[in-house]
């Protein structure tokens, strides 16, 4: 699904040059759930931004779903983001002026889908995250956990091949964090590849494997079976919803 080879990413200001990714290489199989951990400033978010085609890089090659996406123009990158990649952010990043329905609608608008198809997808995605009855609520009228579920619905509605989650449980309480992780795991079980950046080792245990980043490089790749074993243990009360 994802193949990065010898990626280098440098941030430059007038005074400072920061190498965020150094000779970074990573391969992720289709359908994998990968947790990316590492200390602050290690390059986790930069890796996620490069993976999500939100940022470019100086050197190396990046193949996504078999296609070299290293040197695409803005339109092509935007189209791939829209069609293949879903995002879940720590701070939810919902648009405050739009209600739940319209927030989930955002990526679908840019895909140019017909109204009926958009409505079908939105209703289905909100059903999955348990917010079908809140379509007219504004983000400010929802709790943090509900807002993150709207963000997940927004990602789901686009039916992405790759879901990128940046600290998705960072702004919710532990009970809601588990619910969200279970939702994400459920999405993965339906075949979506997931890469999740997290500080929390317990959350990382939901993933098939853990990639540890330090100073812009992958320093540790834990085998998938360790995590698969961990995932068998119940860590929260499942809400019984089906995905």
């Amino acid at each position: 699904m994802l193949d990065m080879t010898h990626i280098n990413k440098v941030y430059r200001t007038d005074l400072v040059e920061t190498r965020a990714l150094r000779d970074f290489s990573l391969h992720v199989e289709e359908g994998e759930f990968v947790a990316v951990t590492g200390p602050s400033g290690s390059g986790k978010t930069t890796f996620l931004n490069v993976t999500g085609l939100l940022e470019t890089f100086e050197q190396g090659e990046y193949r996504l779903d078999g296609k070299d996406v290293s040197r695409l123009n803005d339109n092509e990158r935007s189209r791939i983001r829209n069609e293949k990649i879903g995002f879940i952010f720590q701070s939810f990043n919902l648009i405050p002026d739009l209600d739940v329905f319209d927030n989930v609608d955002v990526p679908l608008r840019y895909r140019g889908l017909r109204a009926a198809e958009r409505t079908r997808r939105i209703e289905q995605a909100l059903e999955v995250v348990g917010l079908a009855s809140r379509t007219k609520h504004l983000p400010s009228q929802l709790s943090g956990g509900q807002q993150q579920r709207v963000a997940i619905a927004r990602a789901l509605a686009g039916e992405p091949r790759l879901l990128l989650a940046d600290e998705p449980t960072g702004n919710v309480d532990s009970l809601m964090a588990r619910e969200i992780l279970q939702l994400i795991s459920g999405i993965n079980e339906y075949g979506t590849t997931i890469i999740m950046v997290t500080h929390d080792p317990e959350m990382a245990r939901y993933a098939h494997r853990n990639v540890h980043i330090m100073d812009g490089q992958v320093t540790e790749l834990e085998p998938a079976d360790v995590h698969l074993a961990a995932r068998q243990q119940p860590i929260g009360a499942p809400d019984g919803r089906s995905l």
Partner: protein
């Protein structure tokens, strides 16, 4: 995407009504000031009779003092003597020619219950009406025999007919002018050429006259001219002396449809003056002129250079308003860069973000244009109140309203291009972590 972006724009305007009002106000004030000046300028410089302005010529002859010109350096009088005007009417080879002057009298309604009131009189030939394309509500121009035999006939303006006869068809009725009864032969529709090109002597933007009577009545009724009269030598005190004098007080126009007719008429004028020289008149060198309507307006400086400067200043003011609006837009757009970042992450290209913001700017421009139109209307009322003669210049017609909206839209888009470009160029990733 247009309607989606339109909805987003309206949501955005609603979210911060004070800032939105400030931006709309900035553009409205700019549009109001510039469009007020533009309207005045546009109507001042407009072609008052576009269908034939190139074929109507004002005639000038130089009968002035041999020792000094009418106006430096060597200008001929704008108006003509009575006897020259009457001669040219009889002899001139133009398909249509017309002499006229302005007078004043009192109109006495036939209804004794109504009070007499002063009227502005255009003393002219029947050719006035076809030459200047005056529209008739009832009846028409008087006949050739009325001109030839000095019949007491009159054409009323729409306003005067309203006042005298309550707006009904008054053809055949009588009205008392110059202490005599005049038979109404025609009533004009509302008609207001702006500027009033055929007689600029009083003011270029005054209303047309109230009544029109044959010029052949001048001598029998001793109709006193009420416009500007210029003389360079003394005359006798009786009315006939005035008619035979070298005083200029009539306006003379001809309609010449081809260059050949123009050349022939010019040659006729030169021959006429040469003949008059033999009689001891026209002692100055040949100085005859034919100027068509737009040349005449330019010659008479109908659009003063001050107005052009004011117009420039008004548009500079609009530019200042736009710079302010640009600053406000920049602040507003950058203030929600995170939202644009989210949209970019979810698949919007830079072009889509740029378009979204331009639609918002266009909505602001449109609202600003509408508010600007209201301010323009107020501004024109103010101008009208300050300068009574500018009434004809303070009409906001649909064309000008369209121009106002158009300028507001274009101006807003110009002001919005940079903020919209800035917002679509901001780093996508930068705001996602920190929103």
């Amino acid at each position: 995407m247009f309607f989606y972006n339109l909805r987003l724009a309206l949501l955005s305007l609603r979210r911060n009504p004070a800032l939105s009002a400030l931006m709309i106000g900035a553009i409205a004030v700019g549009i109001g000031a510039s469009m007020t000046m533009f309207t005045v300028y546009y109507l001042m410089s407009a072609d008052p009779i576009p269908q034939k302005s190139a074929h109507l010529y004002r005639v000038q002859l130089d009968n002035w003092d041999p020792d000094k010109p009418y106006a430096p350096p060597d200008k001929a009088p704008e108006q003509m003597t009575y006897r020259d005007a009457v001669s040219l009417m009889k002899q001139g080879p133009a398909p249509l020619s017309n002499a006229m002057f302005r007078s004043f009298t009192v109109a006495q309604p036939s209804d004794k219950n109504k009070s007499p009131f002063p009227v502005r009189v255009r003393v002219t030939y029947r050719n006035f009406f076809p030459m200047f394309d005056t529209p008739f509500e009832y009846g028409g121009a008087w006949g050739k025999s009325d001109d030839a035999e000095a019949h007491q006939v009159v054409v009323l303006s729409n306003e005067t007919n309203e006042r005298l006869f309550g707006g009904e068809n008054s053809v055949g009725k009588s009205v008392k002018l110059y202490h005599r009864y005049f038979k109404v032969v025609g009533v004009l529709k509302p008609w207001r050429p702006t500027p009033r090109y055929y007689d600029l002597t009083a003011t270029a933007f005054a209303k047309p006259d109230d009544v029109y009577v044959p010029l052949s009545l001048t001598a029998p009724l001793q109709i006193q001219p009420g416009g500007i009269m210029s003389c360079w030598k003394s005359n006798g005190s009786d009315f006939q002396s005035l008619l035979n004098s070298e005083c200029v007080w009539l306006q003379f126009w001809v309609q010449l449809d081809t260059p050949t007719q123009v050349a022939a008429y010019k040659s006729f004028l030169d021959d006429y003056v040469r003949e008059q020289k033999k009689l001891g008149r026209f002692q100055r060198p040949l100085n005859n002129h034919l100027r068509n309507v737009m040349q005449w307006l330019d010659y008479e400086h109908v659009v003063a250079s001050d107005n052009s400067i004011l117009l420039g200043l008004a548009f500079m003011f609009l530019a200042v308003c736009l710079v302010n609006m640009m600053g406000l837009l920049l602040a507003k757009f950058l203030g929600r860069a995170a939202q644009s970042g989210v949209r970019r992450a979810l698949g919007a290209s830079r072009a889509m973000i740029f378009y979204q913001h331009l639609v918002e700017v266009a909505v602001i421009g449109f609202c600003g244009g509408l508010a600007g139109l209201a301010l323009t209307w107020l501004g024109l009322r103010l101008v009208s109140g300050l300068y009574r003669n500018y009434e004809g210049l303070t009409q906001l017609d649909p064309t000008l309203a369209g121009i106002a909206i158009g300028i507001a839209l274009v101006a807003a888009l110009v002001a919005g291009i940079y903020p919209a470009w800035r917002i679509c160029r901001t780093s996508v990733a930068m705001h996602l972590k920190t929103q």
